[in-house]
């Protein structure tokens, strides 16, 4: 028995010796884990393409990608991994309220030195770093921009002789006309509360103006104002006028969006990411979509050049990575490449100064959005990405309450004020 043990010990020692010498030989080999949220379709293709390019350029670096479904990733995978800093060396994350916890917990690498070293500031579009910046330090590379716009099915507008609305009165007239003709005016999947927020958040930009909403979301001004109440009231008005599909509270965002893509619905207020769906040959909308800013509200403080949207998608580097230089280099390359390719396929607006791009390659709907926002004067992020923790749930519940009729616009403003105040009181 003892002999046996001795033999085994000797063997193990021998083996481990062999292993160390082997790893010493291949010291240059670096493996980087890359966590992202694009498991399928064209986005996955873009990621795979760049990994192949990068690995060819850097033979000593091996990229190990893991793709997750976005919601599960943001709500479960990342919080758990970040608590032990075991997320990928390079990982995708929302900025704003979402990454704040991780930054506070020291799970994210501060990038300022690297940005200076690589001279990155010149290539980044202005203002795109805002929501990846915490306490004056930059923690994320901006991936893409989005803007909330009104997608209109021009075919249906022509059929019923309705003009694309530019004011709120015209909007309500359009809603009534479509409803009277049995066409769902505006699609909404209220089961996913964020989908309601898309509309209400954009309305708040119209009524209160982007500067005020940003201040309120930052805890520097109160949410309980007439303008916020009005943004909720306009949403309730839409609902009462029958703007949304039947039983919207039981319909998910995907189902709702699908109805628009199938050409059954007149309007859809969505993010610029919907452009790729509008131009996809799989859907019945190619060439039929007109984009417009959300109609302006009389007496509101935000004109048609203000938008909901901004930069919330960031690439970040794990603070516990063993190869920070390589990780940053890869993150930078991937971010720039994706920013450009995502623009081409109509997924999002770029966050970087891109070289010449053949516009024929780009989704026409996205070009229309880009033209629209060229002179934009202000943005407000979706509230649920700006806020964090319990405030997000409070926002969701209040939005559903508005649609279900269990909460008045006044109560909505009070609830949001309480939630935001409580959120900043925690810090």
């Amino acid at each position: 028995m003892k002999k046996c043990m001795a033999l085994i010990t000797a063997l193990v020692l021998l083996l481990s010796l062999g292993l160390t010498s082997a790893s010493a030989l291949a010291e240059e080999q670096v493996t980087l884990k890359f966590w992202h949220i694009w498991p399928t379709d064209r986005m996955a293709q873009i990621v795979d393409d760049y990994i192949a390019i990068y690995e060819a350029e850097h033979p000593n670096i091996h990229i190990e990608p893991s793709a997750y479904q976005e919601v599960d990733y943001q709500t479960q995978k990342l919080p758990i991994a970040c608590s032990t800093k075991s997320q990928g060396d390079v990982f995708f994350c929302w900025g704003g309220g979402a990454a704040k916890t991780y930054v506070d917990a020291g799970a994210v690498l501060k990038l300022d030195d690297y940005l200076a070293k690589y001279n990155v500031y010149d290539d980044i579009l202005e203002g795109t770093l805002t929501y990846g910046t915490y306490d004056g330090g930059v923690y994320g590379l901006p991936l893409k921009q989005w803007a909330g716009v009104l997608f209109c099915n021009q075919e249906l507008f022509d059929e019923y002789g309705v003009a694309i609305p530019t004011t709120w009165d015209e909007m309500m007239t359009a809603v009534e006309t479509f409803r009277a003709n049995g066409v769902t005016p505006l699609v909404l999947g209220a089961k996913d509360a964020w989908h309601i927020g898309m509309i209400q958040n954009a309305l708040a930009v119209r009524t209160a103006g982007p500067d005020y909403v940003n201040a309120a979301l930052s805890g520097e001004a109160t949410m309980n104002t007439e303008e916020i109440v009005r943004s909720a009231q306009l949403l309730v008005d839409l609902n009462n006028a029958g703007a949304f599909c039947n039983g919207t509270l039981g319909v998910s965002s995907e189902e709702a969006q699908e109805e628009f893509y199938m050409g059954m619905v007149a309007m859809y207020f969505g993010g610029s990411w919907c452009a790729s769906g509008c131009d996809s040959p799989d859907n019945d909308l190619v060439g039929k979509v007109t984009v417009a800013p959300l109609p302006v509200v009389e007496g509101g403080k935000g004109d048609e050049t203000t938008y909901s949207g901004g930069v919330i998608d960031f690439m970040m580097v794990n603070a516990a990575t063993e190869h920070p230089d390589e990780a940053f280099d890869f993150a930078l390359g991937m971010t720039k490449y994706m920013s450009q390719e995502c623009y081409k396929i109509g997924d999002s607006l770029p966050a970087w100064k891109l070289g010449e791009i053949d516009e024929a390659e780009v989704s026409p709907t996205l070009i229309a959005i880009k033209d629209l926002i060229q002179n934009s004067t202000g943005y407000v992020l979706a509230w649920d990405t700006f806020l964090a923790g319990a405030a997000i749930d409070a926002h969701y519940q209040a939005l559903q309450g508005l649609i279900a009729g269990t909460m008045t616009p006044e109560e909505f403003a009070v609830a949001m004020d309480e939630a935001v105040v409580a959120m900043y009181a925690q810090d």
């Binding site: 919080p79 996913d192 509270l249």
Partner: protein, 292 residues
């Protein structure tokens, strides 16, 4: 046998692997949850000890009582609607109908389909515009009965419960069926010789013989209801406005949306204790019944 039992080493040898396994994957997590439930913690940064604050907040939380009430309704529906239907089907099959095996398999199909698939199927059934249910009602001329099944606060809960109750009818049916089939032919033969008709056979012979199985299935049904999660998460996500929320869903939201691990752990502990209490209660009730 006795000698084997006296050999403590042998006992240890056979019990230890399972014991370690049980402690590692069942007992330790529970104890850990108890510890977490005493913290104010976002799951990432350092937690802060707050004593029983989470529990006192839980007991004063109207939303929690609302969710708890929903899960109790589901438990009631399971025991008093689902199980009798299962029993009826099982007794029909046991008494020998043509195509017994075929029916048995058909009834069991929902059990082997994953809950998320069933939930997605039912979402199509309930869809307000082109759902099967509303279309059917429309075709029958019952447009007044058409409804936003999952989207309205007054029907979302019931709409969730129907597929949940339906799904496991086959499971409980199979439990009853197999245990009824296992009753010794001698007993049944004796009853028949004594001139028992089919009804008497069922109520006086078969059901009393399968009481242990009924007890087990009642416990399964109640515990399954108290910790129900998947179907509701997909169908309504607990909404609209908490109308179909149950405790485990609330726990999930508290962990993954509001990031209150401590509070969520308190809910978890409550669910565990609640399940234990109900199990003991059912044991008690059946114990009395069996003694009679």
């Amino acid at each position: 046998m006795e000698r084997a039992l006296r050999d403590k080493k042998a006992i240890l040898f056979f019990v230890l692997p399972a014991l370690i396994w049980f402690v590692a994957i069942a007992l330790l997590p529970v104890l850990q949850s108890v510890r977490y439930s005493l913290l104010k913690w976002d799951g990432i940064t350092q937690g802060k000890y707050v004593g029983l604050a989470n529990y006192t907040e839980l007991l004063g939380d109207g939303l929690f009582w609302n969710a708890l009430w929903h899960s109790l309704i589901l438990a009631g529906a399971s025991v008093f609607i689902q199980l009798p239907i299962s029993m009826l089907l099982a007794m029909i099959l046991v008494n020998g109908v043509k195509g017994e095996t075929l029916y048995r398999n058909i009834f069991f199909v929902p059990v082997i389909i994953s809950s998320s698939v069933i939930a997605n199927l039912w979402m199509k059934v309930y869809h307000p515009s082109y759902g099967l249910l509303n279309t059917l009602l429309g075709n029958l001329g019952l447009t007044a009965w058409q409804h936003e099944w999952l989207g309205s606060t007054d029907s979302a809960l019931i709409a969730c419960f129907v597929p949940m109750v339906w799904q496991y009818i086959g499971y409980h049916m199979l439990l009853y069926y197999s245990s009824a089939k296992a009753i010794s032919e001698d007993i049944l033969e004796a009853a028949r010789v004594d001139g028992a008709n089919k009804r008497q056979m069922v109520f006086s012979i078969i059901i009393p013989q399968i009481v242990p199985m009924i007890k087990a299935s009642v416990i399964f049904a109640i515990i399954g209801s108290l910790k129900s999660f998947d179907m509701i998460q997909i169908l309504t996500k607990g909404g609209p406005v908490h109308a179909s929320e149950v405790p485990s869903l609330m726990m999930y939201i508290n962990i993954f949306t509001t990031r209150r691990y401590g509070y969520a752990s308190a809910i978890a502990i409550f669910i565990i204790v609640e399940c234990l209490v109900f199990t003991l209660l059912v044991q008690r009730v059946f114990g009395r019944w069996q003694n009679d």
